[in-house]
Amino acid sequence: MKIKGFLKDVTGAKRVTAARLDAFAKASSHIEKVDPIAEVVKEWHPGRLEVVVTDVRPASKTAVTVRFERTDGKKMPFFYAGQYLVLDLKIGDAVVSRPYSISSAPCEGRQEPGFAEITVRRSKGDGFVADFINERVRPGDVFTAQVGCGQFYYEPLRDAKHVVALAGGVGITPFAAMAKEVAHGTLDMDLTILYGSVSSDDIVMKEELDAIQSDRVRIVHVLSGDEPGWEGEKGFLTADLIKKYSADDTTYFICGPQAMYTFLREELKKLDIPARRVRFEVFGQAKDITKFPGYPVELKDETFKMTVRRGIHEDVIDAKATESIVTALERAAIRIDTGCRSGECGFCRTKVISGSVYVCPENDGRRAADKDFGYVHACAAYPTSDLTIKIPIE
């Protein structure tokens, strides 16, 4: 065979070798230290940040809004309205993390000083972290937080221009962020928020929300309780009510308590809405895992021994059948990275080496191959025997 001539052909390898050495010889001895693409990533996803509380104010009779700024004086990272932050706290002996929807707007994070706010309602006995935030957090307190997680946000290429948000209780928070961002002119959609509360006293962030109503942001309060003098919408967020505020092409965003999800799934079915137009915020950690199908109720009072491997180190801790693996680790002050606590984000991906677990079916967001090899998302997995797990070293 011949390409350009025998001699030229057989010396080709020699030629390319010389070319490479020549390129090295001619190159600069100065190494470029900055990767501009990584720099953009740092501004969007800087990882865990140290933040300080700069304001705590009531958001209703039973809720507070807490404002955070970065301790390094920088602006907040970019994020999308509707996303959450993960706050790490040390409460007693436990080291815990919780996701909270950011109730301030992304544009407020980019001011000087930039901030992010969460709005947390006091629990009715089942959320010691919510109570801690309501009762104990004060300006000057320092935490770590990961700002801007989750998939619950407006995607202009996917969603309709007209958005109807269906909010229940403190589920208003992601929509408060969206409303403020629309009002600021940095989020291009028309937003109608149907906000269900029992009584007007229960409405979270009422003044703040009412103040930003405009031709693009409409807030409709819907009270389910009897309230003398109330002239607004009454009852639940029914199909009829939803229809009344919908445009021809509407995307529905839903955030609220678990019971509301069950109710709304049925109501939305009546409206024959295409699946791509309905977006639920994640379900949240199951309130009572024993109520889920297939849960081995006979084990509910058991406490198991859980061996926790990190690298070559092992600890043995208690793990209750009714508490997720994440909760057991947090009680024992063993750090694990968590995000959504709904089995979706996978931050708490954990290998179950031996023993068995129950995975909450509403919150099983695992990859198929992970299931085959005993990986679980620890926030959605509950021990059903003594077990050994392996988690990343934090």
Binding site: I3, A13, H30, V40, W44, Q151, R276
Partner: protein
């Protein structure tokens, strides 16, 4: 608390395909290996993500070098040898070429492929077949020589075609076949899998690509590329490899020109005889070597003498109807406004709109990969980092959406359906996404350009000129075999072999 042993034989930075392949091979030879991976799962880009309850393939288009159970190719054989049993599904076609004035679907198998080209460009059958056969001859030589190096004289005798084409670009060799341009265009689409225009792409690389893909077809793992990555990681652990996730290595510890350990972002200092780095040399020499005074000047010059190759821009569309109902007929469409690879390469300098797109509908190879009644379409361009390096954080979201919109519009027009009217999910992956999850320099997925002054033959012969420190090996798209998931495995094996050879040599001098 003590999380690590006092000492390892080898620390591997990065638990993606190259790092895991190195770990597997070293463990197979009884070495004590630690893999440190920054993410919380293995695989690097060979991974998946879950959105809207559906697991979506993140990057793999089609895996080369696997072959059939009874006739394994290089990578498939390595997996078999290591006990990594991936459930492979065949990809039904080579590609559909959608170029100005041409719409044709081509299939693997040299005769079939040549026949299909001939149906579009009559009279080319024999020439195309001859070209493919030449590719195969070169491919065989590359595979043999990578295992059994030999003298130049012997090489010329036994591997004449390989030797005689080594000094030429793909274009120079293809031109000798005197094919009509239209036929050349049909032989060019895979250029994107190696990322250099035919005018500067070594024919050797082109030959390997065509022989492997067209000769044997490609595969995808049934449970997406996470299946492959996870099975490699699980098998490595079974063989005694310690893998720790969420551990970012910040420093490679060096003394007297020799690597002896690493320090992680958490502050763990871990010691080993050898370090294998999947981090790019750019990153290693600019910020990871401790002390910085140990960075060899030759290494910096070698980094600067090479050219960073392509990054990736992909739009994933989870669609609410089966592919056939949306007019999506092929597994893989290469859709080009042009097939002039120089023009495409030029266009890829920017942030879009891009003039050459690859659309993959995985359902055609893997029907169960999305729920009944839906399908997944990923549309990819592989830009050079240059344009994206100019994008500021505050403009990033706007730029990525503009490019995504243009990308979707182009393919909507091609399929004759507004894809956005059917989108259950729209996910946009950019060079920044790559950088975020893998830390790769400039978000680059292709390592250094396969070009005439960084030719694979020269890479093999001048590895020492890269000036690497002793006991430090590189393995990833930035090492010898370059980009792609098949080559990633080969790169990992090569790094492991270098370590094993060095260990043996040092043992012998003791």
């Amino acid at each position: 608390m003590k999380f690590y042993k006092d000492h390892y034989d080898v620390i591997v930075i990065g638990g993606a395909l190259a790092g895991l392949s190195a770990a597997l091979m070293l463990a197979d030879k009884g070495k004590d290996v630690l893999v440190l991976e920054r993410h919380n799962l293995p695989g690097g880009l060979a991974t998946s993500f879950v959105r809207g309850g559906v697991e979506i393939e993140a990057t793999l288009h089609e895996m080369m070098s696997i072959g059939e159970k009874e006739n394994r190719l290089k990578v498939g054989k390595f997996f078999d040898d290591m006990g990594v049993n991936v459930d492979w599904l065949p990809v039904p076609e080579a590609y559909h070429a959608s170029l100005p004035g041409v719409e044709v679907t081509l299939h693997p198998g040299f005769e079939r492929f040549a026949k299909e080209v001939d149906e579009t460009v009559p009279g080319t059958y024999q020439k195309v077949l001859d070209l493919l056969k030449l590719c195969h001859t070169v491919y065989d030589s590359v595979n043999e020589l990578s295992i059994h190096p030999m003298s130049k004289a012997k090489m010329l005798m036994k591997h004449e075609a390989f030797v005689k084409t080594a000094g030429y670009s793909a274009k120079e060799v293809i031109d000798t076949f005197e094919l009509p341009q239209k036929a050349v265009d049909l032989l060019a689409p895979y250029w994107i899998y190696v990322g250099n225009p035919l005018t500067t792409l070594p024919f050797t690389i082109y030959a390997v690509l065509m022989a492997d893909y067209i000769g044997y077809g490609s595969k995808v793992p049934k449970k997406l590329s996470h299946e492959m990555s996870l099975k490699m990681a699980e098998r490595a652990e079974e063989m005694g490899v310690q893998i720790e996730y969420r551990q970012q290595v910040e420093k490679i510890l060096v003394k007297d020109g020799k690597a002896y350990g690493v320090r992680t972002a958490r502050g763990d200092e871990i010691y080993a005889d050898y370090v294998i780095s999947s981090a790019y040399p750019n990153k290693v020499y600019s910020s990871m070597i401790e002390p910085a005074s140990e960075v060899p000047e030759a290494a910096v010059k070698a980094v600067n003498g090479r050219k960073i190759s392509l990054t990736a821009f992909t739009v994933f569309l989870l669609l609410d109807k089966p592919a056939e109902e949306l007019g999506i007929k092929d597994f893989n469409v290469f859709h080009g406004e042009t097939m002039d690879t120089d023009k495409i390469f030029e266009n890829y300098l920017g942030t879009g709109p891009y003039n050459y797109l690859t659309a993959i509908c995985l359902n055609y190879a893997n029907p169960g990969c999305t729920p009944e009644g839906t399908c997944i379409l990923s549309i990819t361009a592989l830009p050079r980092p240059d344009g994206w390096k100019q994008v500021k954080a505050e403009d990033y979201d706007r730029v990525k959406h503009e490019t995504a919109k243009a990308t979707i519009d182009t393919m909507s027009e091609y399929y004759g359906v507004n894809l956005l009217d059917h989108a259950l999910e729209v996910i946009i992956e950019t060079p920044m996404t790559v950088s975020h999850y893998t830390g790769m320099w400039n978000g680059c997925v292709y390592g250094y350009m396969h070009c005439m002054d960084d030719h694979i033959v020269a890479r093999l012969q001048t590895a020492e000129a890269e000036g690497a420190l002793k006991h430090l090996e590189f393995s990833g798209a930035h090492s010898i075999s370059g980009n792609g998931m098949g080559p990633a495995v080969t790169n990992g094996r090569k790094a492991a072999k270098n370590v094993l050879d060095s260990m043996a040599a040092e043992e012998a001098t003791k």
